[in-house]
Amino acid sequence: MTPHPVLVARDVSIRFGGVKALTDVSFEVRPGELFSIIGPNGAGKTSLLNCISGRYRPTAGSISLGGRDITHLKPNKRAAIGIGRTFQNLALFGHMSVLDNIMVGRHHLLKNNFLTGPLYWLSGARNEELAHRREVEHIIDFLEIEAVRHATAGTLSYGLRKRVELARAMALKPKLLLLDEPMAGMNLEEKEDMARYILDLNEEWGITIVMIEHDMGVVMDISHRVMVLDFGRKIADGLPAEIMENAYVKKAYLGEDLPDLEEDAAA
């Protein structure tokens, strides 16, 4: 393994009033890794992701990306340094076309602005837009959403919307992709498709991925390493096989709750 991890979190804590959502969570994500975070509901997984993506500012601790401290970096500056994310509850731009949704992901890569954009043909904005359109079409092709590229995003089915969201996050050329429950609410076939996309993203496109997921089967199958959170504390991290054997994990998370989880997944 390379000595320099992509993402380093040191003693990250966040509290909302009296509730400690995260307590001294530290972990590292190495380049090219597919890193999963698991834990019961309310364990602080999404809060942790929000700290990395900038929605929340940790009350203590630090987060750095590629050696640069990003703890206090504004969320809108994080796209440019290579953090992309999808959301647990769909966060597409509902009235825009799928294509425009994905093109918003190119925002920090595009140069044209409110002065050059209106002069479309004269300012070179047209050529720039077309060049980026071509790139975006690769993503559309990869995720097999060609048929809906002109559809209004809000009218799509759930599984497709998840895919469009992934496409949008991919469009900003992330080094680190944060996926918040990419398979929630999907049927088996859609889950298998999504798992394949995530694997391809990781292996072919070389993107480092941090993923929150409840489906233990998927997590254990495709992750390189897994971290377990419970009540805002890190319980363990390690290889999937190690996590499966961890007594505390079995008790706190996998143990008795497992049948329930499978029911959730089935529903």
């Binding site: 993506s53 900038g54 929605r55 969320p75 809108n76 500056k77 994080r78 796209a79 440019a80 992309g84 994310r85 959301f87 966060a91 597409l92 731009f93 509902g94 009235h95 825009m96 076309s97 425009d100 093109m103 918003v104 992901g105 190119r106 925002h107 920090h108 595009l110 140069k111 044209n112 602005n113 409110f114 050059t116 954009g117 209106p118 002069l119 479309y120 904005a125 047209r126 837009e129 077309l130 359109r133 071509r134 079409e137 002109h150 559809a151 209004t152 949008r168 900003l172």
Partner: protein, 357 residues
């Protein structure tokens, strides 16, 4: 474009360039060009009264487009659009009268000055949303209106101020027949500019801010910048519209710049279709023609039994106001997406003609 374009069966694109055009089909483009040509030919076809209506639709349509960019595309709200319209008018008169800048230059400069003022009043927009923002823009309405009343050096106070007609190489655009071309030029340029804006980076960012600002922020969109920028663009359009108005009338006063004018702008945008560029023009035309329609109706009923029973003669001004109110309510209930959406449905109805199954 924010709304999904309607495409006829069998209309395939073979390049990305052909897929990114402003008009989704050749038909819709030609239809629009035909409209511009017809308006350009209007001085030879219709009388001066119709021309004055066309000019009115033109300059109000420009200002309304600004409001649509703010309200329809960015999801902000403003109930002070009329004062920005007024500021543009006064600014152009000021530049023209006091600084001696010819109207041909003072109109765009007035647009820029209004942009600056709009940006200042747009700063609260970066932090406020919904009702709170509405009240903040209401403050802009009252502050600027008060300023117009007091700043005699700028506006001429209650007497108003005069404006030279637009002239180019000695030719004066001082009649409806000639001024129509000035307005038409600005309408075409500014509407095309808005359409281009909406298919490029910053236009998409504005819509993204409207649809899901948290996700937009994650995509690298600076919310403060775009919310304020939206006010700037909106004011620019309002300023140009107001400047054209001033040079059309040859006179500018604070009369009519009250809050009901601001509400009328909102009505144009809502009736036309929030987030629709062509809809803005339709909505403006509707709002300009509606009082004419009411007048016409009242005149044709003149002297009839209905006239005597309802007293239409005395009630005409009220009737006009009521018609506007009723139109807004009816549109909100039956066609909240505006005339643009209705037009799309009409087109969709004929999509498979004559085999509509």
């Amino acid at each position: 474009m924010a709304t999904q374009a309607f495409r006829p069966c069998g209309d395939f694109k073979s390049s990305y360039a052909a897929d990114q055009t402003i008009f989704p089909t050749a038909w819709s483009r030609n239809f629009c060009i035909l409209g511009v040509v017809l308006v350009a030919a209007a001085p030879f076809l219709v009388d001066r009264y119709v021309l004055s209506l066309l000019i009115q639709i033109g300059y109000l349509g420009i200002a309304a487009l600004g409001l649509n960019i703010l309200v329809g595309f960015t999801g902000q709200i403003s109930i002070g659009h009329a004062v920005f319209f007024g500021f543009g008018g006064f600014a152009s008169c000021f530049l023209n009268g006091k600084a001696g800048i010819p109207p041909i230059l003072s109109i765009p400069l007035a647009g820029l000055m209004t942009t600056a003022v709009g940006l200042v009043f747009g700063i609260p927009a970066a932090r406020l949303k919904g009702l709170y923002l509405a009240i903040a823009t209401l403050a802009a309405q009252f502050i600027l209106l008060d300023f117009f009343g007091r700043a005699e050096w700028f506006t001429g106070g209650s007497n108003g101020t005069v404006a030279d007609p637009v002239s180019l190489f000695g030719f004066k655009f001082d009649h409806d027949e000639s001024f129509l071309y000035v307005v038409l030029f600005y309408v075409v340029v500014l509407y095309v500019a808005a359409a281009n804006l909406m298919r490029t980076r910053d236009g998409r960012a504005l819509v993204a801010v409207r649809d899901y600002y948290l996700a937009a922020e994650m995509m690298g969109v600076n919310l403060t910048k775009y919310r304020t920028l939206s006010f700037g663009i909106s004011s620019f359009y309002a300023g140009i519209g107001g400047a054209l108005y001033a040079h059309y009338l040859g006179f500018m006063s604070i009369e009519g710049l009250d809050i009901s004018f601001s509400i009328q702008f909102l009505a144009m945008v809502i009736i036309g279709g929030l987030g629709s560029i062509m809809g803005t023009l339709m909505g403006t035309a509707f709002m300009v023609l509606l009082p004419q329609g009411v007048n016409f109706l009242a005149r044709s009923l003149d002297g009839s039994a209905i006239d005597h029973a309802l007293g239409l003669h005395e009630g005409l001004p009220f009737l006009r106001e009521m018609a506007i109110g009723a139109a807004i309510i009816l549109f909100l209930i039956f066609e909240p997406d505006g005339l643009a959406h209705r037009w799309k449905q009409i087109k969709a109805y004929w999509k498979l003609y004559p085999f509509s199954y």
